[in-house]
Structures are given as structure tokens and as C-alpha cells.
């Protein structure tokens, strides 16, 4: 494993990989710093640029975006009190107060170094866990894969904040998208409606790009347009700090750092809940275990470290699920999965053994992206706020043009651009009616695999009880039922609390 990793590192240090990785990290940091532009959107914009590159170049660029984006949000969070990306929300709680108290440099660098160490801890997990997990997954038969995908879908549907039914419907609708086109087992055309394009089925990338890009841009537009994304940037005081001191501040609470990184990794491994959940949860945990919980929210370093360490560790966790099982941990890794498929590489448990060079190249890119991110922050954090003055009137059309290019260039057909628009409208409608997007996308990605494994299992053995009686498959299915029940219970409890609050308010 270490020789493979060494080879990967030597590989990624070549200029032809280092340049896309550094550019990707830079774009990620900038996209992360822009309020209203999520990492998902940044990676969608980067996607068409990777079509012409070789697979490792493209994935290195995307890994850079992911790592840079998770850290970039903190600059805006600290200096403006606005999260640059959702995963930096918890950073605003303590980062902004600390900056207001006259220590913006300390706040930013605490975040940067916490991201650095948290991210590297996530990397250790990524490298150590992917191969063993993939080996376990190699033992899986179609029953186990079917149950694993069902578990992923039901967990995502249950974990989203809005109603469970809507989450489940969104997931099921995602699967409905995949039944269009050729039947993946017998190759028979179905539901083509006489439209030649539909006969081939719908690619998930234009669906994903359309759903996320339009849903986000349009919800921003509802609030009005034209104005720059952020308030006019005032003069920023010096951000210079003594790095040794800040690093010591981060490392002097090793248990907290480890625990928050662990939470980040864990949330990352769970499909489709991403950095924002990780950082909120880690912040909450850090507050609970702290000796001075009352200081949280007033600018304590612990809060910044908790949030930033966990959201970067989360990246490592998300990469594990996609590399070991082929299940995207969030929308960002879903785009990376798409990039793999464009190059004809099958993700899943065989990925790491069949494409060891690529897999270890990605690990190496992930590790190298962290020092690059620190270097970018060092060189540019003073100017980074300028990026928030980019007017939306310029940003939005450029993003949408890049989305159109991304969809078109997939197969050089206009049909994918129409798919992009269709699902853009659908995605916006779903958001307006409170249907979560994450389960929908996961359904679109996993739908085919669910069908293939279901049919294979039934063709191997007609006994449907096999899904329950095979131990791993049965356990996975039990877990998915459990996660749905848990979601139901939590939702009910939440509603009761809301009702109680409403009651209390009515009394006054």
C-alpha cells in the first residue's frame, strides 16, 4: 500500500498533474469564498474543463476543488459573517466574532490550519479504509449490493430535513428517470415514446447539473438580482499571524481535533449528507465536551477548529464511499463519479484493484491539495474578499453557459442541453415544493444498479427471501428499515416540539 501511495505521490508531483490540481484548488477556494456558490456548483463549472484531460488530471482538478472549496468558505465566514459555502455556516459562529474582536488573521489561520490537519486526518482514513472496504464489497453478491443501495437511498431520504415522504418520493422519482431507455439486463428498449434520444436512456450528469445549478441560481434570483453578492468590502486589517502559535493552538487539543475529524469522516461516509451537517454536528459536539461551553459563539478558537476540521475531514469520508462502493457521498462526488464514467472507468469495489494507479493518484492528489490550499490562502487571503464583489449579473450567465457546455460536450449532442433545461425546471419545482434534491440525484445514479442487481439476484435464485436470509443483505435491509423508522420517530418528535412551542406562544 505504501509503495503504491509513494508511486501515486511521485506521479502527482509531475507538472501535468500538479497544474490541474493547483488550478482546481484555486478555483475551489474562490468558489468556496463566494457566498451563494456552493462547492457543488464550482465542481459543475469545472467539469467541462476536464473532458479534454486524462482521467487523473481531471480527477486531480476535482479533488482540488473539493479540498479548496471546503476551506475557502471560511474566509467569507470569518471576515463577513456570511458562509461562503453551506459547510462554513458553523465557522461564522465563532470566526466572525473573533474577527470583530480585532483578530481576523488569527481566526482565518486557525480555520486554515484546522482544515489542513482535519483534512489530512480524513486522508489517513481514506487511504487506510478504502481498500479493506472495497475487499469486503468484493464478497458481495447481487443481493448485498441491492440491499446496500436501498440502504443508501433510504438513509438519504430519512436524513434530509424536510418530510420523510417527500424524501422517499424524490428518491423513487430518481429511479423512475433511470427506467427510461434500454433495459440494462436484456437490452430491450422501453418507454422510448418514439423519441430516438430517449431510447438510449438519460445520462445522469446533465440531470445533476440541471437540477443543482438551476435550483440554486433561481432561488437566489427570487430574492432579486443585480446587486453584488456581498456588502462593499471594507479595508481588511492585517491578517499576519505567527503560524507556529496558531498551529499550536490547533494541535494543543488533540482529542477535540481527532473527534471532530472523526465526525467529519463519518458524515462523509454516509451518502449524500455533506459538509454542512458535519460542521454543525462537530461544533455541537465540541461545545458539549468543552470545559467552557459558554464561550462558544463569542469567538472561541475551539469553535473554529471544530467546524473547519470536520468539514475538510468530511471530504476524505465522501471519497471513501465513492471509491469503495461507487456510491457518491454527496453531489460533489457524484460529479466525480460522472467524470470517471466519461473516461469509461467503472467505479465500485473493483475500482481500486483494477485502476490502482488512478486510485492512489487520487489519494495523493487529496494529500497534496492540502499544502497547496494553505499556500493559496497564504498568498491570497487578503485579496480573496474581492471575489465577493463579482456581480451576479456576470456570474450567473457565465455559470449557465458552462453548464450548457458541460452537458453538450458529454456526447456532442444538443439533446443533453435540453435534458439540462428540463431537469433544471424540475429541480427548481422540487425545491419550491419542498422535495429534497439529494435523494433524487442518488436515485438517478443508483437506479440502474439497483435494477441490475435485483434482476441478477432473482435470475440466480428465484427465492425472494434470499434478500432477507443472507446475513449481510438482511442486516443492510434491516438497517434501511431502521433508518426510515428512526426518521419517522424524529420527525414526529420534532413536530410535537413545534406544536408545544406554538402552544406556548399562543398562551402569551
Amino acid at each position: 500500500m505504501f509503495d503504491l501511495l509513494g508511486a501515486g505521490l511521485a506521479n502527482i508531483m509531475q507538472v501535468k498533474y500538479l497544474v490541474p490540481l493547483a488550478l482546481g484548488t484555486l478555483v475551489g477556494v474562490l468558489g468556496g469564498a463566494l457566498p451563494g456558490v456552493t462547492i457543488t456548483m464550482t465542481i459543475i463549472v469545472v467539469l467541462p474543463f476536464t473532458f479534454g484531460l486524462d482521467p487523473l488530471q481531471g480527477l486531480a482538478a476535482m479533488t482540488g476543488v473539493y479540498v479548496g472549496g471546503s476551506a475557502g468558505g471560511l474566509v467569507t465566514a470569518v471576515l463577513l459573517g456570511l458562509p461562503g459555502t453551506p459547510s462554513a455556516i458553523a465557522t461564522t459562529f465563532d470566526g466572525h466574532p473573533m474577527a470583530k474582536k480585532g483578530e481576523p488573521g488569527r481566526a482565518i489561520w486557525l480555520g486554515v490550519w484546522a482544515s489542513f490537519f482535519g483534512g489530512l486526518l480524513g486522508g489517513v482514513f481514506l487511504i487506510a479504509a478504502t481498500d479493506p472496504l472495497a475487499r469486503i464489497a468484493l464478497q458481495f453478491g447481487p443481493w448485498e449490493f441491492f440491499s446496500l443501495f436501498i440502504l443508501a437511498l433510504s438513509m438519504v431520504a430519512g436524513l434530509v430535513e424536510s418530510s420523510l415522504v417527500k424524501g422517499l418520493i424524490a428518491g423513487a422519482l430518481g429511479c423512475v428517470v433511470t427506467i427510461l431507455g434500454t433495459d440494462p439486463v436484456m437490452g430491450q428498449e422501453r418507454l422510448g415514446l418514439g423519441i430516438p434520444f430517449l431510447a438510449g436512456g438519460i445520462d445522469f450528469l446533465p440531470v445533476l447539473i440541471g437540477v443543482f445549478a438551476f435550483a440554486q441560481i433561481m432561488t437566489e434570483l427570487e430574492r432579486g438580482a443585480g446587486a453584488p453578492a456581498a456588502v462593499a468590502v471594507g479595508r481588511v486589517a492585517s491578517l499576519a499571524v505567527r503560524h507556529a502559535k496558531v498551529i499550536w493552538e490547533v494541535l494543543s487539543r488533540p482529542v477535540q481535533l481527532l473527534w471532530c475529524s472523526f465526525i467529519g469522516v463519518l458524515i462523509g461516509v454516509l451518502p449524500a449528507i455533506g459538509g454542512s451537517a458535519a460542521s454543525m454536528m462537530a461544533y455541537d459536539q465540541a461545545k458539549k465536551f468543552s470545559r467552557h461551553p459558554e464561550r462558544f459563539g463569542t469567538g472561541t478558537p475551539e469553535g473554529i477548529v471544530a467546524s473547519e476540521a470536520s468539514n475538510n475531514a468530511n471530504v476524505g469520508g465522501s471519497l471513501v464511499t465513492i471509491m469503495a462502493f461507487g456510491i457518491p457521498g454527496d453531489a460533489v462526488t457524484a460529479v466525480m463519479l460522472g467524470a470517471l464514467t466519461i473516461h469509461g472507468i467503472q467505479s465500485g469495489p473493483l475500482f481500486i484493484s483494477q485502476n490502482a494507479t488512478l486510485a492512489y493518484g487520487i489519494f495523493a492528489a487529496y494529500l497534496v491539495a492540502h499544502p497547496i490550499m494553505v499556500a493559496i490562502m497564504w498568498a491570497g487571503s487578503r485579496w480573496m474578499l474581492r471575489v465577493t464583489t463579482v456581480p451576479k449579473a456576470v456570474l450567473f450567465p457565465v455559470v449557465l453557459v458552462l453548464c450548457a457546455i458541460g452537458a453538450y460536450a458529454l456526447n456532442n449532442t444538443m439533446a443533453n442541453v435540453y435534458v439540462l433545461l428540463t431537469f433544471g425546471v424540475l429541480g427548481y419545482g422540487m425545491v419550491k415544493f419542498g422535495f429534497p434534491l439529494a435523494p433524487f440525484i442518488l436515485g438517478v445514479i443508483l437506479g440502474d444498479q439497483i435494477e441490475i442487481n435485483l434482476i441478477r439476484a432473482i435470475m440466480t435464485d428465484a427465492d425472494p427471501w434470499k434478500f432477507v436470509t443472507r446475513p449481510i443483505s438482511g442486516a443492510l435491509l434491516a438497517l434501511s428499515v431502521g433508518s426510515v423508522l428512526l426518521a419517522l420517530w424524529q420527525h414526529r418528535r420534532q413536530q410535537k416540539r413545534l406544536a408545544a412551542v406554538a402552544q406556548a406562544e399562543a398562551d402569551f
Binding site: M218, A225, A393, V401, A409, L421
Partner: protein, 123 residues
């Protein structure tokens, strides 16, 4: 042998979707909550943005990437930040020109990604 064919999985998926939708309808009906008060939102702008993108997608095969992108970016930029006077229009033209030119050069020349050619313009 179980009766499975191409219709097996679609039936299951559509059946589940239908059942879940029915559940949602019943749950909403039982809850009988008054609809939440609507926040004022700029739906006109959203509709205009979708319409412009639709026009862009429709025009791409006829006008070609460079012309259509110039027109689209100019239209969206003017819609979101209405230009005032000659300077405003110059800004719109500049933004559109730069976007169209930069994306074209980067993708066609440098990354070898082919972009749509115009059926009418041949450009």
C-alpha cells in the same frame, strides 16, 4: 422461473412512487394545515431566466456557440443589471464578448472540446 422482463423493475418503481404519492396526499389531507404564508418572490425574473436559457438552447444549433453565447450572456446581463446609458451597454457587450471568446478559445483550441456550430451561420 419468475416472470421477469423489461417491465418488472419499472412496475415496482412506479408502484412505489404511486404508493408514496398517495401517502403524501393522505398525510397532507389529514394534517389540514393552512398553507404557509408566501414570501414575496421575484418569480417574473425566474421565468425570464428559464425562458432565456430555453431560447439559448434552441438557438445553439442554428446560430452556433459563439453567436448564441454572446447574445445569451448579453441578454442575461442586461436583464439582471439593466444598463444605463452608453457605458452600461458597453459593459453588457464587453461581458458577453469576453465570455463567448474566452470559453470558445479555452474549450475549442486548448481543451479540444467541440462546441456547437451554427446551421445558419456556419460559424
Amino acid at each position: 422461473m419468475v416472470p421477469i422482463g423489461p417491465g418488472f423493475y419499472p412496475r415496482i418503481v412506479l408502484g412505489i412512487t404511486a404508493a408514496l404519492s398517495a401517502w403524501l396526499v393522505v398525510a397532507d389531507w389529514l394534517a389540514k394545515k393552512a398553507p404557509a404564508p408566501r414570501k414575496p418572490a421575484n418569480y417574473g425574473l425566474v421565468a425570464a431566466m428559464f425562458a432565456l436559457f430555453g431560447l439559448y438552447a434552441g438557438a445553439l444549433p442554428f446560430l452556433g456557440f459563439r453567436v448564441a453565447t454572446f447574445a445569451y450572456v448579453a441578454a442575461v446581463n442586461a436583464l439582471l443589471d439593466p444598463p444605463r446609458g452608453a457605458r452600461g451597454w458597453a459593459r453588457v457587450a464587453l461581458v458577453a464578448l469576453l465570455t463567448a471568446a474566452a470559453t470558445y478559445v479555452v474549450f475549442e483550441r486548448y481543451l479540444l472540446v467541440l462546441l456547437p456550430r451554427g446551421g445558419w451561420t456556419g460559424f
